[in-house]
Amino acid sequence: MSRKILRINMSDQSAVYEDIPEKWSKWAGRGLTSAIVLDEVEPTCHPLGPNNKLVIAPGWVSGTPAAPSSGRTSFGGKSPLTGTIKESNSGGLSSKKIAKLGLAAIILEGEPQDGEWYQLAITKDGVEFKDASDLAGKGMYEVDEILWDQYPNKPAVIGIGPVGEKKLSNAGISVNDPEGKPGRYAGRGGLGAVMGARGVKAIVVDDEGGPGVDIADEDLLKQGRTKLRDAIMEHDLTKPDGGLNTYGTNVLMNIINEAGGLPTRNFSAGQFEGAADISGERVAEMVEKRGGEGMTGHGCHPGCIIQCSNIYPDEEGEAVVSVVEYETAWALGANCGIDDLDYVAEMTYQCNDLGLDTIEAGNTIAIAMEGGQIEFGDKEAALALFDEIREMSPLGRIYGQGVEATAKAFGVHRVPTVKGQSMPAYEPRAIKGIGVTYATSPMGADHTAGYTIAPEIAGVGGKVDPLDEEGKSDLSLTFQAATAFVDSTGYCLFIAFPILDISSGWEGMAESVAGVTGLDITGDDVIDIGKEILRMEREFNKKAGFTAQDDRPPEFMRYEKLPPHNEVWSVSDEELDQVYAWTNGK
């Protein structure tokens, strides 16, 4: 493997290409970002200070020919939102282009001595440092447009909105989509603020003339990716015209509502009377009715064969925003008591432009509602909160910090967070396994980190009762480990659904990784390799000061019964501590 580490130091504006050292050489994607952060970032550093770093890494198979749905990029660092290690993952154009330049990872460190803003351009010829004062303060839609004018080869653009520039903890990192819009996000955990602390407004990546990705065993790669592709094309969820292609992730709105696990009005109920009006079926109906630029079945990165994204149109058929995901429609919708897709879409646009994670942003609005600043369901007032953020008023800056800071400002105690990150669109009291993931993942409350929803709700990868506590610590760990592996491959996590049900797909995924890297791995190694990654992340968190007391859901969920099932959080602390008991003493 002749992959390089590109180390960009903003203190002296240097860009050095290093051979990937032996200790990191087996890793890519999340495994690599976590290994680098563990090695190079002091766990007790201030996340906004000079000693934090931003690590950007494509996955093992990213940039290889015909690897299906393999365009994911991992972003890593110490999270300003949680104080833990963070890996945040995005689609869009960046993964393939970074990989094809022969890069294993980009490490962004230091800070400009002159306090100025920079844009970086990474090409086969090296790194260009350019003054970005003409971009500073601008929203990502305008930034992406300007940069595609400046660099007409349709490069990847990795950027931060004004929220990241101000180093607010709910700042995400934007990656442009195939249409050149800032529609994809490494959203969770505030890594946009870490990029802001480096003085970098945007990174342009153009892979033209790049060396491409070395492949150790072409035949094994081909065999593996064919099996994986076949599984994706066969499974009802991921096949053409299947669930995800037709309705996107928002297919879940009505389903999770039906299960009584749709967090509503700041996690005060498990069903929302307006769920149908913000569902994936309603989005598809809007697209059908309004036509024009609207679409479902949109691909977020070149080479995706699932294509679950959408472009939401206004009444005239003009594109408002890509993408209205389930999490986004839920956070800005049900959790705020809002049932109007047009407002959800407009608020999504604001998040994309300002550079905010939509989950945390929606949950923040819900806190402002609970705190009495505005009313639950007041869609106009919710939209107006984004003006506050854009103005960077003191209250706007508080909103930009996410749920916990906003809750403190408003005296709200019903705070749905773990390790400082707010919960996504599944209520732990109604779906116990996902609650275990929220509590124990090194990432904070994170659903993709260990998506037990698959067996608990969807009947994918098995079938278990969501209301049952039994076996949920084992279940969550298995999913956390498998996910850590998939997050390192460069494949979209949604390949997990077919490969959990179709074993040849699972084998194929592992074989494709073995084929590219020359590593001696099969499907039997996936969980163990995933656990290695989790162990590194737990180690960082432990050194950062986290203990078992941080692997707990919020207090209010232990005593407040959630309708319709009227359940409280009932998984014991001992059971939660079982998830990572295997790391004790290590």
Binding site: D236, V251, I255, I457, A458, K463, L493
Partner: protein, 79 residues
């Protein structure tokens, strides 16, 4: 007995007259299973991945009760 049935996502094409989330009200005899109701509505078994009854997991063999809210769900998942 009266039951109300909902279908979502790709199963909606079998009951196109219903709005999203709108239930179909049915009268069924005592002893009818959830699988028999599914058959009666023309929902192919291979397309129904999950059945819910009164917001809880249910199975084909379960007997319907008066007032049940039954939902048939195809393959779904997301983020």
């Amino acid at each position: 007995m009266h039951v109300e049935v909902r279908v979502f996502a790709t199963l909606r094409r079998y009951l196109p007259e219903l709005d999203i989330g709108e239930p179909k009200l049915l009268e069924v005899p005592q002893g009818t299973t959830l699988g028999e109701i599914r058959e009666g509505l023309g929902l192919p078994i291979e397309e129904v991945k999950v059945i819910m009854r009164n917001n809880r997991q249910a199975d084909e063999e379960d007997l319907a009760q008066d007032g049940d809210r039954i939902t048939y769900i195809p393959a779904v998942a997301g983020g």
